[in-house]
């Protein structure tokens, strides 16, 4: 598919979603006469209107959230990557660590935040740590499954040269697992936005999370939905950034494009 066609497809999709949503909102509002129509499913055009009205506000907020997400994502991805490497280096480490990685995902931020605050002291740093904490898991699991899927014969080639662990990872394990890693990153990137929004709510002074919280609390539904849509847009953007990096990092897979 060439660029032009891709562009066309995306355009059609956007239009379709818009129209469908508009229709759904209409049904809810005018046909079912739902008193909460505006809260349940507002008209997309009114959301767009609200986004344009609050444009600068939303942009500063999403800028803050996005930058925090980028930091959280970077740290989280690195940690996830590192954990996967450690777990694939040693079966013992994998057996020990895996259950506890699951446990880590079961501790909600509410329980975790006080501990992190005490450990890190600085609130802003804590927020990034928490965002990273939420992000690392899919990266670790995906990368690990990539590392575990490396063909035996490809490994044997390097064993036969008595390559050091480091070069085995550098030259084989990691490049082989890149497609898996990128699948993990594609999951983690929008998730880091979610995480960043969540930590916005940890008493931050700005960010989309604050917008969401304030608008929910104050019943300003248009701002709420505008924030929801903005966060979704950030998700798409983060996803495409990862896709872009994937295209650069995995040139040998371009064959599949056709």
């Amino acid at each position: 598919m060439d660029k032009k066609e891709k562009y066309k497809v995306n355009l059609v999709w956007t239009a379709c979603i818009f129209l469908f949503w508009e229709f759904g909102a209409f049904i809810l509002d005018k046909v079912l006469n739902d008193p909460l129509a505006e809260a349940k499913l507002p008209y997309p055009h009114s959301i767009i209107l609200s986004i344009t009205q609050n444009f600068t506000d939303l942009m500063t907020a999403s800028g803050l959230t996005f930058s925090r997400a980028v930091m959280g994502f970077t740290i989280g991805a690195l940690v996830g990557f590192g954990l996967a490497i450690i777990m694939s280096l040693s079966k013992v480490a994998e057996k020990i660590a895996l259950p506890y990685l699951i446990v880590s995902q079961m501790i909600p931020v509410l329980g975790l935040a006080p501990i992190i605050f005490t450990l890190v002291k600085d609130m802003d740093a804590s927020r990034i740590v928490i965002a990273a904490y939420i992000t690392f898991f899919p990266v670790a699991i995906n990368m690990l499954s990539g590392l575990n899927s490396v063909d035996m014969d490809k490994k044997e080639l390097l064993y036969s040269y008595a390559a050091k662990k480091r070069s085995i990872y550098y030259k084989l394990m990691v490049p082989f697992s890149l497609p898996y890693l990128f699948a993990g990153l594609k999951i983690a990137a929008p998730m880091s936005i979610t995480a960043s929004i969540l930590v916005d709510m940890l008493g931050s002074k700005g960010g989309i999370g604050v917008k969401l919280l304030y608008s929910l609390y104050s019943g300003t539904k248009d701002v709420f939905w505008a924030s929801v849509v903005t966060s979704a847009l950030m998700g798409i953007i983060s996803y495409f950034i990862v896709v872009l990096f994937e295209k650069i990092a995995i040139p040998w897979r371009r064959q599949e494009a056709n």
């Binding site: 809260a39 506000d57 002291k121 940890l202 604050v210 919280l213 929910l216 609390y217 019943g219």
Partner: protein, 335 residues
């Protein structure tokens, strides 16, 4: 006993040295972090006014107001040092104190409870007794004790006679009729319900103060250790805050606008509405404005007693004395 540590004591040996009234150079300002219980809004207008008018600065303080949020627990943040002074509800504070947190209430900003239960008249609820068999919402997490007390008063079993459910941030459950009665703060949620287009005459309101189950709400509290070591700072902070509150309560309209300009979390109208309502809680009818922040020990005792009765998780009897509610700093600040 818990919270009964010695060093927090010496309440009688309250700070004597009055802080220098003249403004200090900003370089020498002492940094103080105030942790709000909730979002920046007129509920906390006194501090915003004090900050805006330079009252804190005059006390040699550089106060940073930390907004609250869904996962922010002021008691925790003050205790572990992420903040110096906190705003919370007394009922919640006592729960923490009985756990062993050496936190001290140093000023009681709200003298009355702002909590209501509200329902649409169409739900058939006319008085608390009618809650039987209905779906009633509250936020829980330490905000439910007054409602529990109310139910107890009307001999309604919270598990059997009605369905108590959790309320999210919004009032949509009430508006959308998925609950019959919902909790609301006079200064906030109730206003939102009205703003949503429901008329006041179509609503029933159960006021905790009228029902005589009120518990104390917004207060200022600190870590006992910190207070002992930063008496001057604390007293200065209280003095400036009280000044701010006094001014805010005198002209809530201006205060609401000011809060709106600091942080546009809510619309200006709502912020002003909130300011007016909050003023009624800080300086109720007949309350001496110079006594803003005074700890009414009788009211504290009532709050503690209710808690003892309705909070099954309380591990020990609440201690209400000067280790937990210390008026000395307030006394000093208002001298």
């Amino acid at each position: 006993g818990c919270g009964g540590s010695q060093q927090g004591g010496t309440p009688t040996a309250a700070p004597t040295a009055a802080p220098t009234a003249e403004p200090t150079k900003s370089a020498e300002l002492k940094k103080v972090r105030l942790q709000l219980k909730w979002l920046p809004q007129s509920q906390f207008m006194g501090y915003y006014v004090a900050k805006d008018k330079g009252y804190f600065e005059a006390e040699g303080l550089d106060v940073e107001i930390l907004p609250g949020g869904s996962d922010i627990i002021p008691e925790q943040n003050v205790y572990n040092g992420a903040a110096d002074i906190g705003v919370t509800w007394v009922s919640s504070l006592i729960t923490y104190q009985t756990q062993g947190y050496e936190l001290v209430n140093v000023a009681q900003i709200f003298q009355k409870s702002g909590l209501l239960l509200t329902a649409k008249k169409s739900s058939g609820i006319a008085s608390p007794a009618d809650l039987k068999g209905k779906k009633v919402a509250n936020w829980f997490g330490g905000n439910e004790y007054e409602v529990l007390a109310l139910l107890e008063k009307y001999t309604l079993d919270k598990d059997k006679d009605l369905e108590l459910v959790q309320q999210d941030y919004t009032m949509d459950q009430l508006i959308g009729d998925t609950v019959h009665a919902a909790s609301a703060m006079t200064y906030n949620e109730f206003g939102l319900v009205l703003e949503s287009g429901i008329k006041e005459e179509d609503l029933v309101v159960i006021d905790m103060n009228d029902e005589d189950v009120a518990m104390l709400e917004d207060c200022l509290f600190v870590n006992a250790d910190w207070a002992a070591q930063n008496k001057d700072v604390l007293v200065g902070f209280l003095r400036a805050s009280i000044k701010g509150w006094a001014e805010a309560c005198k002209d809530p309209e201006a205060a609401g606008e000011l809060v709106y300009n600091v942080d546009k979390s809510v619309s200006k109208d709502h912020q002003v509405y909130m300011a007016k309502e909050v003023a009624k809680l800080v300086t109720p009818d007949g309350f001496d404005a110079s006594k803003i922040g005074q700890i009414d020990m009788a009211a504290v005792k009532q709050t503690a007693d209710f808690l003892k009765l309705y909070n099954k998780d309380l591990t020990s009897t609440p201690v209400v004395d000067e280790t937990t509610f210390n008026p000395a700093y307030w006394n000093e600040a208002t001298k």
